[in-house]
Amino acid sequence: MSGQNRDLLLDVRHLQVYFPIRRGLMKKVVGHVHAVEDVSFTVRRKEVFALVGESGCGKSTTGSAILRLIEPTGGQVFFNGENLSALSEEQLRLKRRDMQFIFQNPYASLNPRMNVWQLLSEPLRVHFDLSQEELRARVGEMLTLIGMTPDQLERYPHQFSGGQKQRISIARALITHPSFVVADEPVSALDVSIQAQILNLMMELQQEMELSLVFISHDLNVVRHLSNRVGVMYLGSLMETGNTEDVYRHPVHPYTQALLSAVPSHDPLHKSKHIILEGDVPNPADPPSGCPFHTRCARCTARCREERPELREIAPDHFAACHQV
């Protein structure tokens, strides 16, 4: 049935990730952290879908679980119509050529004992049977794309700046020409003036290589700038999803509204009116009943406390999980 829409690349259905909490000598499971709770969304070809939310909302776990870097405890992920959850480990390993992951922290995600040549040729060696010349050519081509030169091939990660390291990890992820990439906060570890460089590079490559991208970020400005569609997460659940401009201009979920209003304005003469949320995010090991946001929501009713809202379409291609809209 997912073959119906040729445009559809990724279809995430009711994804759930629970982490067991173990205590005591016998490591008995005493509870679960509800990291991702019933998350469904789709990503089309050549589209940038952003997952945005605050720390601990489950956006990174969702990203890892899509690619089964963390095993989901429930739900399915269809990639090109194929159910990833049903693949064996070996089948999945071979599939990774076509779906890659870019990590948040380039200082940690590159093996400190491998030089650039080893880092970039390794994915090719794993997935293709290339001659030495072909390897050189592919690595050289990728180096040019990320704006680096062949004389840097012999160098090790610690000899590069953060921005350059992130370029190398991007190259490592894209060198097998995947059609789908999950990028987990790829610029948040970098300096402000370097972030824009890396974002531009990613956008260029996304266009050029016709990538579909799931872009995970807590930076609302960045998400607005580069995503086509966005999903707003809170406490493991999707609160609102839709076309990025729609969601930013007309946020309907009270959480999205508060989140967007909290972004500091860049004009001291026109300070934005903040909706200040009271209290803190509840503990995901002990999530509240009903709507996950009801403990901090100004518009909370009795129904919100009891019944968990489903994502409903409130405008074309604009969904929100709230009883009040």
């Binding site: 890892s64 690619l67 870097l69 390993r93 071979l94 599939k95 990774r96 050529r97 890659q100 992951f101 990590f103 948040q104 922290n105 940690a108 995600s109 590159l110 093996n111 400190p112 004992r113 491998m114 030089n115 040549w117 080893q118 390794e122 994915p123 060696r125 794993v126 997935h127 049977d129 290339l130 030495q132 090790y156 990660p157 610690h158 000899q159 990890s169 490592r172 992820a173």
Partner: protein, 291 residues
């Protein structure tokens, strides 16, 4: 997968300089290297360096103070202390290296298994290690030697067994640390096989703490051997060992202090050199410390 076709220089160490050169450039590293090199030279060239036969007694020159013909004096049998120390270096080094080899080999294997596979296997291995660890190492070594009988081989085995837990723990801890790093997650996301991850990504990153541990354990093993020989359960006469030389010297300490001073001095120099070298090696091998 194709084999590596580009020679990888300095596998253990990113950067352009060899480990030895970097060690040499570090003052502490240099001191450690010189100390260790001296001991090794003594041990290797013992027959050429030692002026006398170690076992040859000389009734006319008992307890001679250090002089031009007996640099470090003679003991109560008239044996040349310098020659015995030179040969003692041999014993110390061999015992140290073989014992650490045993400990490192088994410890590495067990640590890898425990760290990589986790679960019940890990629990069992670590429990056994904890039991071994719980005994004072000298006591345990003496116990093993008492059970197996006193000989140089049994001494090495005993010291080896006693040191397994340290290696096992070091390796397991580093495997676990490395396993939880982003670059291992990255290797998985690229599509690498489990075994490739183990050999290409985990092993090289575990080698650094492992090498450091080996250097430090070497000094520990030499010290244990000396203590065991001092207690009479290590190297048996007439083989010279620094520990047994100290032990034999006890009765003559006041009359012939050189019998105590020189073996003790060499034990100290050796231990210190290996420890300093181990510390310097740790600094050199940690790529994060380098700018």
């Amino acid at each position: 997968m194709k084999q590596k076709n580009r020679p990888v220089r300095n596998r253990a160490l990113p950067g352009n300089e060899s480990i030895l050169r970097q060690l040499w450039n570090d003052p502490m590293g240099r001191a450690g290297m010189i100390g260790v090199a001296l001991i090794i030279l003594l041990a290797v060239f013992a027959p050429w360096i030692a002026p006398y036969d170690v076992a040859k007694m000389n009734a006319k020159a008992k307890l001679t103070a250090p002089n031009a013909s007996f640099w470090f004096g003679t003991d109560n049998f008239g044996r040349d202390v310098f020659s015995r120390i030179v040969y003692g270096a041999r014993v110390s080094l061999i015992v140290g290296i073989v014992a650490v080899g045993i400990a490192a080999g088994f410890g590495y294997l067990l640590g890898m298994i425990a760290g990589f596979f986790e679960g019940r296997v890990e629990t069992v291995i670590m429990m056994v290690m904890d039991v071994i660890f719980a005994f004072p190492s000298i006591l345990l070594a003496l116990f093993i030697v008492a059970a197996l009988g006193t000989s140089i081989v049994n001494t090495m085995i005993a010291i080896g067994i006693v040191n397994i837990p340290v290696f096992c723990r070091t390796v397991r801890a580093s495997v676990k640390t490395v396993k939880s790093t982003d670059y291992i997650a990255n290797a998985r996301s690229i599509g690498l096989k489990k075994m490739s991850i183990l050999f290409r990504h985990v092993t090289p990153n575990v080698m650094a703490p492992f090498t450091v541990q080996a250097t430090l354990a070497l000094s520990g093993a030499i010290l244990t051997e000396a203590s065991m020989s001092f207690l009479g359960l290590g190297i048996q006469p007439p083989d010279p060992s620094w520990g047994s030389m100290l032990s034999d010297a006890r009765k003559f300490m006041e009359r012939a202090p050189w019998l105590v001073i020189f073996p003790a001095l060499f034990i100290i120099i050796t231990i210190l050199s290996f420890n300093i070298l181990g510390d310097a090696l740790r600094d050199v091998l940690d790529p994060k410390l380098k700018l």
